[in-house]
Amino acid sequence: MTPAQQQYRAKRVYEVRSQKDGRELRLSDRLVELGEKEFNWYEKVAAWLPSVRGLADLSQELGMDEAKVPRFIEALEKSGLLYRTNDAGKALTGLEFHAKFSSVLSSWISEAFEHPFWERMMSGKGSARLFTGWLIELYHYTKNANRHMPLSCAYAHEKPIKQLRAKHYAEEWNHYHYFMKSLKALGFTEPQIAESVPLPMTLALSNFMRQAARRDILAYSICSAVLEGTTTDRGTYSPYYQKSADLYGVPKEAIAPIFAHLDLDVQYQHSDLFREILEKVPEMSAERASLVLDYGHQLVEHIWLWTDNIEKYYEVESNLVPRRPFDVLFD
C-alpha cells in the first residue's frame, strides 16, 4: 500500500444527485458539488484507496501526472470527501459520543427509509397485501424484543446501565399485542399469527440485536436508539399509516392500535434512553466509539434490507400469508 492508501479513507456519501453540470454529494454535515470530470476522478480515487494498485496505476487511470495526484487527493480531503485515518484516534466522553451520534442520526434514518417500498406504498402503487405483510413482520419484530432485550440486561455489567436497560424491557416486552390487535382487525386469528414464521430478515434483526447485546452494551444501545429514532414522533409514521388506510381500504380498527403503540413510545421518552446511558460513560476509547458507531450503521442497513425482504415476499400473490412453519405430517 502507498502512504496515501494508508492515510486516507472515503467519507460516507449518503446521496448523489445529478445536476446540470455535475453531481451533488450529500454527506452527513455538508453538500459537495463536483463537475462531471471531478466526480469521475473522485470515484476512481475512492475505489483505488483500499486496493493493492500503486500510484502509477491511479495516475494512468485518472490521466493525470503522477506528481499532481497527491494534490488532487488533498483537495478531496479539504472538500470533506476524504479524511485522514489518524484523525479518528482520540478518546471521547459518553456525551461527546452522543453528540456525534445525534449529528448523523437523521442521515441514517433517511438511508434506512430510502427503500422504494415507501414511495410505492405512498403513491398508491402498493397493496393491502403489502400493508398486511409489513404489519405481520412488525408483529414478529416487536415480539422478538423478548429475544434480545433481556439478553442485553444479562450482558450489561454496570449496575446503572443494567437498570436502565431492564426498565426499558419492562416497558416494552408485551407491545406485540398492539400489532396482534391490528391483525385481528384485518381478519386473522390469534393462533394463525402467533404460530406463523417471520421472514429471514425479520429474524435477522433480532439476531443482530442479540449479537450486539453479547458484544458491547453500548453497541446494543445504539441499535436500540436507531430503532427508537424511527418512532420519536408521530410525524415519521403517521402519514404512512393514514395514507395506507385511505389507499388500500385498511379499517380504522387496524390502524388505531398502531397509533396507540406509537403514542406510548413517545410517552415513555425512549428516544432519550441512549443519552441517559451515555451519561454514565465517562470515557470511550476511539476504538470503542468506532465499534459502537459501526453497530448503529449496520442496523440502518438491516432496516433497508428488511424492507426489501418484506416487499419481495409479500408482493408475490402465491406466497402464503401468514407464513406457517413446516410440519412433517401436513407438508
Binding site: Q5, R12, A88, M201, A204, S290, Q298, E301, P325, F326
Partner: protein
C-alpha cells in the same frame, strides 16, 4: 416415495387421512393432477372420480371408516386409493394417539435430502447466477459476491465453534471434526481477494446484513440444537459438494463464464475452486449420513425442528444471494469498510 409416507402407510394406529398442505390439485378433462414438490401424480377415470368425491374429507380429522360410511363408499376401494396416494407421498395418515418416535435417523436422512433438494431450487434459480454468467452483473456485484462468500466461509469460526461447544454427546465428535477441518477455509478465499485488495482491508471488511443474517442464524441454531443445526448446515454443504459429474460441470461452466466476462476475477475463482476441492477431499458429504446413523429415533417435534431449520436455512441462502444482487446493485461500494468516528 418419502420415508415418512412409507412409515405411515404401514402404521395401524394412523387412520386419519390428510391431503398434504403442499399438494396442488389441478383438474382438467376429467383428470386430476396432484403436484407435490417436484412430482406429479395423475388420476384418471374411476380413481379421479373417487378422489373428487373424498377430497373435502381428507382433513386429517376424519377416520377412513367414517369417510366410507358418510360417502357410502366401499371401505376396501377407498383404502386402496388412499394407500396408493400415501405411497407416492401426497397423503399422510395421522393418528389420534401420540406416535412417539416417528422416524429413524436413516429415514430422516432420506426425507431431509428429498426436501432440501426441493428447497434449494430457489437458490439455484436466483437471477444473480444468470447476471454473472452473461456478464450483466456489475463489478461491485461480482467482487461483492467474492467478499460475501469469504465472510460466510470465515464464519465457520463462529457457528462451528458454537456448535462444537454446545454439542450433544453423540454429535460432539462430528461437530468437533467439522470445525477442525473447516476453520482455515476462509483463508483460501482471502488469498484470492488479496490479488485485488490489501490484507488489512479484507480482514476488516464488513459483510452485508444478509450475510450476517445467514451467519447469525447458523450461530443461533448451533447454540440451541446440535442436530437441527447440522440438518441446516447440511443443506448449505449440499451446495458445495458437487461430487456428481453433472453438477460439477455446471459449476465449471459458471466459473468459465465468470473468467470470460470478468478477467480480474481469475485468482478469486482459483480460490473458489480450491475451496470446493478441499471440501470434497474432506468427504463432508458423508458426515451428515454418519450423524443420522448414530442418532436415536426422532419424534415428530425433533423432525419438525430440524426440517424447519433446514427450510429456514434455504430461505437465508436466497436472502444471501438477494443481498449481493440488490445491495451491491444499488450501493456500489466494495469492499465495505466499517465505520469509524470520522467516516460518518
Amino acid at each position: 416415495m418419502s420415508a415418512l409416507a412409507s412409515t405411515q402407510a404401514q402404521s395401524r394406529s394412523a387412520d386419519l387421512p390428510l391431503l398434504k398442505r403442499t399438494v396442488t390439485v389441478v383438474r382438467q378433462n376429467g383428470h386430476v393432477a396432484l403436484r407435490h414438490l417436484r412430482e406429479e401424480v395423475m388420476l384418471e377415470g374411476a380413481a379421479a372420480q373417487l378422489f373428487n368425491k373424498i377430497e373435502p374429507e381428507l382433513d386429517g380429522k376424519t377416520a377412513m371408516s367414517a369417510i366410507a360410511d358418510k360417502l357410502a363408499e366401499k371401505p376396501a376401494r377407498l383404502k386402496a386409493l388412499l394407500d396408493q396416494l400415501a405411497k407416492v407421498g401426497v397423503l399422510a395418515f395421522l393418528s389420534s394417539k401420540d406416535d412417539g418416535a416417528l422416524l429413524t435417523g436413516m429415514e430422516f436422512y432420506a426425507l431431509h435430502r428429498e426436501r432440501c433438494l426441493y428447497w434449494l431450487q430457489d437458490v439455484y434459480r436466483h437471477p444473480l447466477w444468470e447476471k454473472i454468467v452473461t456478464g450483466k452483473a456489475s463489478r461491485a456485484q461480482v467482487v461483492g459476491f467474492a467478499f460475501e462468500k469469504y465472510h460466510y466461509i470465515e464464519a465457520a469460526f463462529e457457528h462451528m465453534g458454537i456448535a462444537a461447544a454446545n454439542s450433544s454427546p453423540e454429535m460432539m465428535p462430528h461437530l468437533a471434526r467439522h470445525f477442525i477441518e473447516e476453520y482455515t477455509h476462509g483463508d483460501i478465499y482471502r488469498k484470492g481477494l488479496r490479488s485485488l485488495f490489501a490484507d488489512d482491508v479484507i480482514l476488516h471488511s464488513q459483510p452485508l446484513p444478509s450475510t450476517r443474517a445467514l451467519v447469525n442464524y447458523l450461530n443461533e441454531s448451533a447454540g440451541r440444537s446440535s442436530f437441527a443445526y447440522y440438518a441446516g448446515n447440511e443443506l448449505l454443504q449440499m451446495t458445495e459438494n458437487t461430487g456428481d459429474a453433472q453438477a460439477g460441470q455446471a459449476v465449471d461452466d459458471f466459473y468459465d463464464a465468470m473468467r470470460k466476462h470478468y478477467p480480474y476475477t481469475n485468482k478469486l475463482i482459483d480460490s473458489f475452486i480450491a475451496h470446493t476441492k478441499a471440501d470434497q477431499h474432506l468427504g463432508h458429504a458423508d458426515a451428515f449420513l454418519l450423524m443420522c446413523k448414530s442418532v436415536p429415533p426422532l419424534t415428530r417435534r425433533e423432525v419438525n425442528d430440524a426440517l424447519n431449520v433446514a427450510k429456514n436455512m434455504a430461505e437465508h441462502l436466497v436472502l444471501f444471494m438477494d443481498g449481493i444482487d440488490t445491495f451491491y446493485g444499488r450501493f456500489g461500494t466494495v469492499p465495505r469498510l466499517p465505520c469509524d468516528i470520522e467516516s460518518e
